[in-house]
Symmetry: C2
Subunit: 210 residues, 2 copies
DNA sequence: ACCTGAACACCGTTCAAGT
DNA sequence: ACCTGAACACCGTTCAAGT
């Protein structure tokens, strides 16, 4: 049992990613430094570089963890619109679980391996729903843009406590309050409905090709 | 005329913001350091702090410059839908002029003064169009989320040269190409049309309240 | 062979010394 | 009074010295 040695689990790329996500969730992206992370893991700074090539790679791994939390399941027989709604809700649930980390998802390039592999999962999911893969590929960016943009605003609003009305005049703080109130579950659902119905109508008219 | 002294214009908050935007446009957000910026302006690092309180404040000023580039004008008599389309196109034109800087706009909090004052301009613009200010406030986040999310993807795609297919297998690079192709002017117009029409239908049904 | 401390080239910002 | 260089407390990463 080697008593005296602390029971710290052995370093691995996965463990580093999980600790990084926990750190971002707790203290924000700015606090994620290789040095802080190593200290948190009880390791020397350079030991992390045995498992991971750079800070950027750690962030990519965090994005992969977050995208993996999105569940791709839908009620049977609902077709692609019901599938799109289910994914949108699972995406939002992930964002609200990780409001400080969500900006990493929004900022991730579509070229990064974790994003590409999420796109692959998503395509297979739509194919399994009986939808046209081609239609999915032509239109997913419209729905995804709305979801990502909305959740970026909503997670930001979530993190800003209302006590910040310090140096604001009455009209400004009223406007700020109004803006914060427009990002809500019902607004998300309303936008989702408009786009899903709009895309369905376009596809029915055979105008799905951009 | 004081010959021998270089004809460098005197430092000001505005000049610093403009130089910062130029630097981000040219070399990206990561390159924007107070030290680099001061060197570019031919000043000592600490001289900037006479005009601006922090790096974060400089970034806020850059966001203000970018939001000021969005033109709020619409063809007369078109009502709010025509106004929304005009703003959306002007927003996109700004984003494409500043693909590297756009992430600063997307990442800006709705609480920051430049964003609040842009919201104020926008509200006045819609009011002038004869639209209901209340309906605008209830629904702007849906349209704005789509636009911001889409432009975030499009500006990212714009900056990634296609030569990056290095370590990708054939299927992955094909998927990446597909994803990049879905962010285009016609996709933006399609999404815009779906949302504007959807919001118009909701408002006609009196369901504008979220 | 594997691990990691020291060192390098950067940061943003404080503060006191310079004019 | 105004300006700013030196210094402080950080970064990510390289590299060579340690085991």
């Amino acid at each position: 049992m080697n008593p005296g040695t602390p029971e710290r689990p052995r370093l691995s790329r996965r463990l580093i990613a999980e600790a990084a996500l926990a750190m971002v969730d707790r203290r924000g992206v700015a606090s994620l430094s290789v040095r802080n992370l190593a200290a948190e893991l009880g390791a020397g700074t350079m030991s992390l570089y045995r498992h991971v090539p750079s800070r950027e790679a750690i962030i990519r791994d965090v994005v992969a963890l977050l995208l993996d939390e999105i569940e791709l399941t839908a009620p049977a027989g609902g077709g692609w619109p019901e599938g799109a709604r289910a994914v949108a809700r699972s995406y939002r649930a992930m964002a609200l679980r990780h409001p400080r980390a969500f900006q990493l998802v929004a900022g991730a390039s579509n070229r990064e391996p974790p994003v590409v592999s999420y796109a692959r999962r998503l395509r297979a999911f739509y194919a399994g729903l009986g939808g046209s893969v081609e239609a999915f590929e032509q239109n997913w960016s419209i729905l995804d843009s709305f979801e990502t943009g909305f959740l970026l605003f909503e997670t930001q609003a979530l993190l800003e406590s209302p006590h910040e009305a310090e140096a604001m005049d009455a009209e400004t703080s009223e406007l700020a309050r109004h803006m914060a109130a427009t990002v809500s579950e019902s607004a998300y659902e309303a936008g989702l409905e408009i786009i899903v119905e709009g895309l369905a109508a376009r596809l029915d008219r055979g105008a799905g090709r951009l």
